[in-house]
């Protein structure tokens, strides 16, 4: 799989490149608009990550040109602005997903994988992590064959963590997926819910599944990072 990153902030560009290379993707990096467009125009990419504010040619213009030529390639937009209107405009122009800086890298990787897959894996009805089973259809949770009763919010949190086993989710990511943007900044609510979830999912069992990575967030199961 080959991914193009167009991002004028050199360090950020390298960082994204490194994170994706660690996930075994082939990565091309471009640090200005013209270079980005030249690369996008000459090679077949599986995914393009595009910053909107670029010197030379703007991200919106590159997006338009790519879409004129190639309807298929998924495009993930990075932006430092979060005006909803702009977001809508870019989705209309053909963006597939949208990330607002500062984002967690875990989030970026999850989005990239989701965009590349777009397939059956995430849509499996039963998610399995160790001896934990999360049935997305019936919303039933079992561990070692025993049924665990969860409140709707606890279930939503567990399902989100289980959607990418081994990956660490930041509190902000969890807030945005399980609650909504109005709760932004209220990260302590995540800690409280994780504690409750732990008491039901982990405490009665010898092996602990829910992991805390200080300063980063929470994950389910063994780390998949290198």
């Amino acid at each position: 799989m080959r991914i193009l990153i167009v991002e004028d902030e050199k360090k950020l560009c390298e960082l994204i490149g490194r994170a994706l290379k660690a996930e075994r993707f082939a990565v091309d990096e471009a640090t200005d608009g013209h270079q980005g467009w030249a690369l996008a125009d000459s090679y077949e990419y599986d995914l393009i990550i595009l910053d909107l504010m670029l010197p030379g040619m703007g991200g919106a213009e590159i997006l338009r040109r790519i879409r004129l030529k190639n309807q298929q390639v998924p495009i993930l937009i990075l932006t430092a602005r979060d005006a909803t209107e702009e977001k809508v405009q870019n989705f209309e122009a053909g963006a597939d997903d949208y990330l607002t800086k500062p984002f967690a890298f875990a989030e970026l990787v999850i989005r990239v994988k989701a965009l590349l897959r777009r397939g059956p894996v995430t849509r499996a009805s039963v998610l399995r992590v160790g001896d934990l089973e999360v049935d997305r259809l019936s919303q039933h949770v079992k561990r070692a064959g025993k049924k665990i009763e969860l409140t709707p919010k606890e279930y939503a949190l567990l399902e989100y963590l289980a959607s990418n086993p081994g990956r660490v989710f930041s509190r902000t990511m969890i807030i945005e997926h399980v609650w909504d943007q109005s709760f932004e900044g209220l990260t302590n609510i995540v800690d409280v819910y994780v504690r409750h979830l732990r008491s039901k999912v982990d405490d009665p069992f010898p092996t602990k599944l829910i992991r805390t990575v200080r300063g980063v967030g929470y994950g389910l199961g063994e780390s998949t990072d290198a």
Partner: protein
Amino acid sequence: MNTRSLSFRLVTWYAGVLTLVFVVLGSLTLIFLRHYLESAVLDTQARRARQIADTLIASVDRTGDDVMTRQVEELYSPVVNDRFIRITTASGSVLYVSGAPHDGTFVPADIPTLSAAPFSREGVFERKVELPSGSVLIGAVASGHYVVEVGVSTARTEETLRQVLLLLAVGLPVGVLIAVSGGFVLVRRALNPVNQIAHKAEDISQHNLSERLPVVHSGDELEHLSVSLNNMIARLEDAIQTSKQFVADASHELRTPLTVLRGELETLAQDALLKAHTRESLGSLLEEVDRLAEVVESLLALSKLDAGEAITERVRFDLGELVSTTAEQMNLLAEDKGIGVECDAEPAVFVEGDRSRMKQVVVNLLDNAIKYTPNGGNVVLRIAREGDTAVLEVVDNGIGIPTEALPHMFKRFFRVDDSRSREQGGAGLGLSIVKSICAAQGAEVDVTSRPGGGSCFRVRQPLARGV
């Protein structure tokens, strides 16, 4: 009619002044006219008395009293001419007095005789005699042993004065009425552009600052005013544009390095080979990055609210329903501290605004209430109608707020005291955001508190119109 409007006040003032001037001038006119008429009539009477004295009294020695009185009767026929004529001797006995006049305006017998009257050097004395039957103006002349008095009723001068008074009484209100209505029309016409400017000015908000007020090319103060206002709007537009540009630039310049910082640290933190204390340090760094990111987000949110960019939708929603669902989502947070959250909502309290921003207000207020209420306390959310206003109250029985801190609660970066809020996290921006959101959608927020007895935050927003 608006009694405080400029046109009303101007016209009322001028009408008042005009009426006052008319009344004063009219009264003075009547007084002087009466004086002038009476003195003219008195002079005539005195002249006539002199004539009688000169012609008849001069020859009385030859003719005798009887002839003289007969001659007076013949020559002047006072009864027919409604005149009063009396001739007395110096000793006071009456030689002749005319009969009652035809018009019956006075009774001659009632008129007191003159004794030692203060005659002038020319031997003339003028007086006005007020009688129950009517006043009489009398001119008297002393000649030798005789005093001749000639008089006439004031009826005729009074009649003239009455006519003048009538003329004034009719003419004055008509004059004032014409002046007032003419003035009203003129003032209204002159002030009409002011109304137009005011209407247009009300229509201009943050979102259509590129529009301008109509300029009246009248060359007067109004033209000046409209041009000045337009210049002010232009400066405002400029300032808001600058502020928007700042938000956009600051967003980019602050968020990009934060992303790099967090990315690098996250990658490091997930390295399985790290020593425990390095992992701790990295975790602590990441927490600080998060806090920095949160402050940046809050500040940008405030700048956007200030620039009027943040309110993106205006929908009708049930405030009570929004509050109760939000409280439900935060329930565990309260449960964790053993705090009871009670939601007491009147049904169907509809307001209009940005639903997700309003939710943010509820989240911030409720989070604060839970934070500053000790374990086992209570928080009550109350939603009610008060007239045409929706009122949301967040009441806790927590630690309360010191009285001296109350006025500063919504200021940016304000903390009641450093120790208690820093350990709870937060940069002191939550309530400023609440205030800015409220201001941006026409709501008001205030706080009352008793130290040790809990606080009450109150949001008041106009009810949605219709239904």
